[in-house]
Amino acid sequence: MTATESNHEGGHELNAHTDALLPDPGRHEHEWRPTDVNPHAERRAERQVAVLFGLSMICTVLFVVAYVTLKTGVDGQIVMGLGASNVCLGLALGGAFLFIGIGVIQWARKLMWDVELVEERHPASSSEEDRAKFAGILDSALNESGIGRRPLLRNTLLGSIGLLAAPLVVMLRDLGPLPGDKLKHTVWTAGMRVVRDVVGTPIRPADLEIGDLVNAEPEIIFGTSNGTALPADQVLEGAELEDARAKAATVLLRMDPSDIIPGPGRENWDVDGIVAYSKICTHVGCPISLNERTTHHLLCPCHQSTFDLADSGKVVFGPAGRHLPQLPLGVDSDGYLVARSDYPEPVGPSFWERDTKHVGDMGEAEIPEINS
């Protein structure tokens, strides 16, 4: 008690000016807790805390028992429709921590040392004495090392340290190589068949009824070209395959041809009402296939961007800044749906160098028909 009071009085000197304006009201009288004034209450609180710690011990023991006895895995025991082992381990360990926590709070509130305390803030700077001492040490170090007297050593040291920046700069190269025009192209090429994702089967226009939606990929993803296997060196594999699959993902939708409002130059991009759009949202690149058949609206589940597939993939709602890229479709000599070119614009989200063109400004009229 006396220690804190003298601290308080000592710190008082620093605040003499402000204290003259607004005198320190001092501390109010200490209020005692029942456990301080009543020995029964004190003993009861002590018992409560001990019981709580005891409960924690029981939970820990139960955890070990559950860990050893309960069967886990596919054919493990089930309780309340959940895996018995997980439920028991979770409840037991949770209880063990919870009871320690409650016990500690109870201990602190009821039994621990309880006084009001004032701690004054220290001034930020060191004392004059300390500062002079440090300046002396620095001076003597400069003298003893001779760095002021030997400029050759000083300069070569600075030069060698400065040159160490070079490895840092050189290693920036590992962030590369620059993407080049990769962002602007997918694996779609003119005449490549449009196949169903997962099963890889080609699609005839007559297969689809109005209202059918197909999640499609280019045929090269499945290692074939016009139904025959590609030579081994042209088959995509590993990371390259996954990249290609992710970028080229396409949604095919057949609608009533009279519903379609084609963009300028896109009048013949559909085949009997079958349209194809990139499946990658132009906002941040989530895959979209949440389509409403009745409205032709394709909705992105990430941020609710909505595109009208009957109207050049125009954005009708949400944060996406540009329409969905459309894939011009044709039919090859075997009667299967093919792409008439790569996507005429980059798929996916915006990037720094991306062109901002409107529907109809992508040289659409120049995309040749497929000879069938």
Binding site: E31, W32, R33, P34, T35, D36, V37, N38, G76, I78, G81, L82, G83, N86, V87, G90, I105, R109, K110, D197, V198, V199, R204, A206, D207, L208, E209, I210, G211, D212, L213, V214, N215, L253, I288, S289, L290, N291, E292, R293, T294, T295, H297, L299, P301, Q304, T306
Partner: protein, 292 residues
């Protein structure tokens, strides 16, 4: 048209030989075509065509009572003066659509709304079949699948496993956008929702893929082959058999329900607990050393 008929009738009448000749010709023609039909068509198909016709006729009676208010007396659909579709045309939706909509209780709808919901079905399967026969008679459409279409009962264990794996990939590609990775369903624009699939009868899942109820896309047999549809159903059935290994699924709806639970229940309990700790004073007016 009428003038043309009158003229040809007049021409006929000039050449007729007796007052009953026309009648005799008509009767002969009828007998001949009937006889030829009986001679060339197998009796069973004649019976089933007959059955279909009877069923369609019965179905029409049910249709007039329960469906015609919105779908029109001949299933042609009704558009209100404001241009809203009260009930769409049923030509071409096929028997499968009727079996799905009526069998799951969605139709007859009680009221218009963002989405017609599942409810207690009030028709017997026979009545549904009659309704389906009538609607199927309007225009060709998908028919009701048989159990062989959606059941993997005839397959070996190895084939069943393959079906589940392939069905899982097709499900993850085509269905999860709306119906969730666990088939738990999800929200759709303008108050609609994609329903939960785990409790749905396999027949109705098959029919829903075939016909695309409400705003769902269709997955016709040219889009997803019947075997692929069967595999998708096998995968959905396999999901039901997986036990939960721990924690609460919270409807398996993903970050929305989990976030709501964490923010409201989890943090709410912590805030409540902290408030409770601070609200209960541990102080007393008694002084230390005072008599008890």
């Amino acid at each position: 048209m009428r003038r043309l008929l009158n003229r040809s009738a007049g021409r006929l009448s000039r050449h007729r030989r007796g007052p009953l000749a026309g009648l005799v010709v008509v009767l002969l023609g009828l007998a001949l075509s009937g006889g030829l039909y009986a001679a060339f068509s197998p009796s069973s198909s004649a019976d089933s065509a007959d059955d279909q016709a009877t069923m369609a006729a019965k179905g029409r009676q049910l249709f007039l009572v329960s469906c015609a208010t919105c779908h029109g007396q001949n299933g042609e659909g009704i558009t209100t003066q404001d241009g809203d579709i009260l009930g769409p045309t049923l030509a071409g939706v096929g028997a499968a659509a009727v079996d799905f909509q009526v069998g799951t209780g969605r139709m007859p709808a009680v009221q218009p709304g963002p989405q017609v919901e599942k409810k207690q079905n009030i028709f017997s399967q026979d009545e549904i079949d009659e309704l389906a026969a009538y609607v199927a008679s309007l225009a060709p459409g998908p028919s009701i699948p048989t159990e062989a279409d959606y059941s993997t009962a005839g397959l070996s264990d190895e084939e069943k496993k393959e079906a589940v794996v392939r069905g899982g990939q097709i499900f993850l590609t085509n269905c999860t956008a709306c119906h969730n990775f666990t088939g738990a369903g999800g929200a759709m624009p303008r108050g609609g929702f994609a329903p939960k699939l785990l409790d749905t009868d396999p027949k109705y899942i098959y029919e829903a893929m075939l016909t695309g109820p409400q705003s769902m896309d269709t997955f016709s047999n040219g889009n997803l082959s019947p075997e692929e549809k069967r595999d998708v159903i096998a995968y959905i059935q396999s999901m039901k058999e997986q036990p939960g290994y721990g924690g609460f699924g919270l409807g398996s709806l993903g970050p929305v329900s989990e976030g709501l639970f964490a923010w409201i229940v989890g943090i709410g309990v912590l805030v409540g607990f902290a408030t409770w700790i601070a609200a209960h004073t541990t102080r007393t007016l008694k002084k230390k050393g005072q008599a008890q």
